[in-house]
Amino acid sequence: MTAGYTRRELMVVAAAREIHDREVVFVGMRLPLLGFGLARATHAPNAVGLFENGVIRDRPAEAFIYTMGDPPNITGAIACLGLLDVMSLLQQGRVDVGFIGGAEIDPLGNLNTTRTSGSGSLVRLPGSGGGCDIASLAGRTVLIMEHEPRRFRPHVDYITSPGHFPGRRRGGPSTLITTLGVFDLSPTGVRVRTLHPGVTAEQVRQATGFPLDVSDAVQATPPPSTDELAHIRRADSEGFWTRRESPANPLRTMTAG
């Protein structure tokens, strides 16, 4: 908790700001879901959200949901289609922005959620889910990560969700939101956009497992407004997604799915 809001609340606000009005958004669970709700409630009242299980919503579920398949996410949806239907819309280019998380990232925005030997021995992660599809096919992607040195690697062991590469047909990661800051991603690598209030350039360099140019003069991530914070707390009234800062949180290695 910093200055009356948590890092995760700040990340939700940053995620919301990545959504423009009238955009079609491939929503993930947790922070992106809250970000989508916040965007709809503020600057993007006509955004539409797609979930990879086939659900299309123009407003968040009325009750807390733990997975995108939970009944409250179906009740009151605009449409509940099949997985291939929403993937087809995605592949067609009808999705403006998609959110994905990963266990590991490299400077080109490649994400690994499949397997890693980063810690010395082989660790099997759950896999892509829809992450690879969103990364490959959305108009642009916003990545959400824990900012830890072992997660920010010069090369990931396995590219589950492709980032920038020569010959990419469309899209690619545009923004990376971490527990420390907000970053621009492009084929030329990672650039700091803002650091969260209280985070120093040195802290970020230390937490990034590849060289990153960070100046102390970089601007601070604009904090949540009172209204934004109120909205987030209504949506996540137990603080389930936004206040669990424990590094043991097993949810961190989940994909967007």
Binding site: L83, L125, S128, G130, A135, R168
Partner: protein, 298 residues
Amino acid sequence: MREAIAEQVHDGDAIALGLALESGIPFAAVHEIIRQQRRDLTLIGPISDMAFDQLIAAGTTARVIAAWVGNVAGGSGYGFRRAYEQAIPRRLVMEDHSNFTVGLALQAAAMGVPFLPTFTGIGGDIVRNHPRIRPIEDPFGGPAPLAVAALRPDVAIIHVQRADAQGNAHLWGNLGLTVEAAYAARRTIITCEEIVPEDIIRSDPNRTMIPGFLTTAVVEVPGGALPSSVQGHWRRDFEPFLDYHRRSRTADGFEAWLREWVLDMPDRAAYLQHMGEAAVERLRVRDEQLAASANFAP
């Protein structure tokens, strides 16, 4: 349930299940498969939640074809990890997919074509040297897509709200890859909350996601998908996912869990009893939010 699994699921079969992703997972059938000690199975699905983890840890499974294997509530699937990382209780071959590619593989089989083209995954490792994905040219001269080969399960197991005795099945809420898998599979087992008179099904033919001539067994198993949710019938029960996550962290812990919740339970009725009436009633949906009427009069 016992006879359906005995007749329809054989050692070495490729079984598609968990097709609606986090809801309607046919746990009653999964547990019966474990009790009947099937071996060398291939499991097929998009996001399997802990059903695949249980089947793997119980030693039934030789191969998984899926996009995500774990426990949506807890993250890692420890049974899956033990098998993949340490070959405990046996070696596991993993065919990694994305949700889209496993869906296209099933859909190719459903459509009766050798493959379907896609642009997903290009530039990543899933599609590199994949046994079921190859580069292909666009004969019309556009950018080259990938071809995802057809995947035909021996059996699809699907839990629905209601079906008639012929296996015509009404399903609503999450669909995921349910329809594709039922079309693709050689055999389809329907487990359902209730077997209803055929007039109920015929009153709304657009709700029939699986026509009965594809169904090879239909079993009434109320609560057969718990602890996953079933729209209009059951809420998701969070605690069993967390409990399983904690207890399956070690092989011994898993064995104890397995004994308690699967091996010592003769059937789903016993499972529900073991949950306790209070727990069952807490999960049962009693509210009604009915679909707006649709008139099918001619």
